[in-house]
């Protein structure tokens, strides 16, 4: 695992507060296979923390252990100071959960679903109505409170689930692949809701995803592969590991361009399509590079490192290679989880 020290322990003043999530050497074996193999990390209160990895990397197994749905076979995990193995009910009271698959009763109204949740999570009777009103406002579903969930679109149902997850003012909101099956517009709305919850309610958000763009909204990202965290840091830190931006230049005379740039002290290499320059802040340096080449440039391409590159760098493959049809996997996994 790559040590990005500052990121590993949380930044600055956050370190004083008890960790919202604290995981040490967490392991989960199914028979001979280790789905999660000695994972350690901390999440500071108020942080958005993302678990990024392909299907089968151990994301859901980890989240299931953190949510007390699965017992760890080794290591410890604490949520808001409570141990998931020995204090499951204390943990459950302090977490909100949004799963891949919908967990609403669609024969009840939105309000009834929330009331059910409020009672089971012990929201004091006096606060119940106010809390239900508030979370519905936060996800902009107030006008649908009395409607049956069966009349909701997938996106509305998902947002209602986020509202429900926040109903009992949890310390940590867990989102397990929350955007599977949602269209891009709905996904954007959903992330707005999540960020509203963070700013308005100060909740810590722990999410798993295999979408790079979704991981970008996180303060910190852990890349998990084969049950092990292979990298952990802020999106910028992770990208910095890959290194500089690259600027590809097509010119009339690549040899001359290469020589000119090298003479000026640039880090360059010859690639099939032309000349590649490694530099910080590629876009801003394009005019200067053009000047150095001194004309004859036919095209310029600036590439900033993406999480996709980061992922490729650490795992040796692209995340989408082993992506299975999502809804099927979700359902099958849900069944498996229940049977255990």
């Amino acid at each position: 695992m790559v040590e990005l020290d500052r990121a590993e322990t949380g930044t600055g003043d956050r370190e004083l507060a008890p960790a919202a999530v604290e995981v040490e050497h967490l392991t989960k074996s199914f028979g001979a296979t280790r789905a999660v193999n000695g994972v350690s990390f901390r999440v500071a209160p108020g942080e958005i923390f993302a678990f990024l990895g392909p299907n089968g990397a151990g994301k859901s197994t980890t989240i299931n252990m953190l949510c007390t749905l699965a017992a760890p076979t080794g290591g410890t995990a604490r949520i808001d100071g409570y141990d998931v193995a020995t204090q499951p009910n204390d943990v459950r009271r302090r977490i909100g959960l949004v799963f891949q698959e919908q967990t609403l009763d669609d024969q009840l109204t939105a309000e009834e679903n929330l009331r059910f949740h409020a009672v089971l999570y012990g929201v004091p009777h006096a606060d119940r109505r106010a809390r239900i009103t508030r979370v519905l406002e936060l996800v902009k579903l107030s006008d649908r409170a009395g409607d049956l969930v069966s009349t909701f679109s997938g996106g509305m149902a998902r947002r209602l689930e986020i509202a429900r997850g926040m109903l009992h003012t949890p310390a940590v909101l867990f989102l397990d692949e929350p955007t599977i099956g949602l269209d891009p517009q709905t996904r954007a709305l959903m992330w707005d809701d999540v960020s509203t919850m963070r700013t308005e309610e100060g909740v810590t958000v722990f999410l798993t995803t295999h979408y790079m763009d979704e991981a970008e909204i996180a303060d910190r990202i852990a890349i998990i592969d084969h049950g092990v965290i292979v990298a952990l840091g802020t999106p910028e830190e992770l990208k910095a590991v890959i290194g500089a931006d690259t600027v590809d230049l097509h010119t009339d005379d690549d040899d001359r361009a290469l020589a000119g740039l090298r003479e000026a002290g640039e880090r360059v290499e010859r690639v099939a399509e032309g000349v590649r320059v490694f530099t910080a802040d590629g876009e801003a340096r394009v005019p200067r590079l053009l000047e150095l080449v001194g004309g004859g440039v036919t095209s310029v391409h600036v590439h900033r490192p993406t999480l996709e590159d980061v992922f490729l760098h650490y795992t040796g493959r692209e995340i989408r290679e082993d992506e299975a049809p999502a809804p099927l996997t979700g359902r099958a996994r849900a069944r498996r989880a229940h049977r255990r």
Partner: protein
């Protein structure tokens, strides 16, 4: 982090009566769903009606003279039981749907005991089943079964006992089924044999030994008999009919009193209630 609202629920205190409120809420959900699903109420009446009238009229001609006591009157308490039992099992088995559609997960991850969930589910299913069975009572005048206020209350009480036992049993079964396909198997292999071997549809006296043994092994037998006994108690049953349509169950020549039958049903309920809680308490 502006405007953190009112109180944080994640303090050390758990609201008073939290578990009891949970039982109430799970119970309420069953009632809301029952009330909302009017078509189910109507369709689940159809089968008992079919049995009552088709089987009732068909058999009446075979049974012959019984001093004016109609076979349909004998059948009636059995049909009420049938209605209660199938509704109870159906309600309990809806857990399999909850599992398929994810809502079970919402319940299982909540910071409440599995016992509260199972209790709420069992009481909810039982209430719905007793309501369904009581709706059947409107048919009583049609076939000449005499009702009194006291009888109606007795019937409701016995329906509840029967319904709790069968719902607990159903919840246990549901805790062991993880797929909807298993539901049909349960209905075919458990529900129908239980109903047919319970004395709901025919008298338990004078049966061949093998059949007699099977009926006595069936716990439902001891839930149907008390219901029939209280109904018969306020009807005019001629001696010739009473001999033919025995309402009581005999075990090794001993006629079981109602209280003992109810104790047996309660024991059955207790065993499966406990097993159901265990079934939902597993975690890997």
């Amino acid at each position: 982090m502006s405007a953190i609202p009112a109180t944080r629920a994640h303090g050390p205190t758990v609201p008073r009566w939290h578990e009891l409120r949970t039982v109430g809420m799970v119970w309420e959900r069953e009632l809301i769903r029952f009330e909302r699903n009017r078509t189910r109420i109507v369709t689940s009446l159809s089968q008992p009606l079919l049995f009552l009238f088709v089987l009732g009229y068909g058999m009446s001609t075979l049974v012959g003279s019984t001093g004016g006591f109609d076979f349909k009157k004998f059948l009636f308490p059995g049909i009420v039981s049938m209605s209660v039992v199938s509704t109870a099992i159906f309600s309990a088995i809806s857990i399999v749907w909850d599992r398929e559609f994810g809502f079970l997960r919402e319940m299982l991850v909540a910071p409440v005991s599995r016992a509260s969930l199972v209790t709420g589910k069992t009481l909810g299913g039982a209430t719905v089943a007793a309501v369904q069975g009581t709706i059947m009572l409107v048919l009583a005048p049609l076939i000449g079964v005499h009702l009194t206020v006291a009888l109606v209350f007795e019937v409701i009480g016995l329906e509840l006992v029967m319904a709790v036992a069968l719902t607990a049993f159903g919840v246990f079964v549901a805790s062991r089924i993880s797929r909807i396909e298993g539901f049909q198997v349960v209905m075919q292999l458990v529900l129908f044999p239980m109903l047919f071997l319970s004395g709901a549809l025919f008298p338990l006296s004078g049966l061949p030994t093998w059949l007699s043994v099977l009926t006595r092994l069936n716990p439902l037998t001891y839930a149907v008999a008390p219901l029939r006994q209280v109904v018969f108690a306020v009807q005019h049953v001629p001696p010739v009919a009473a001999a033919r349509f025995s309402a009581t169950v005999t075990l090794f020549g001993y006629t079981l009193p109602v209280w003992l039958e109810l104790v047996m049903v309660a024991a059955f309920a207790g065993v499966f209630f406990t097993l159901a809680i265990q079934g939902f308490s597993r975690r890997d």
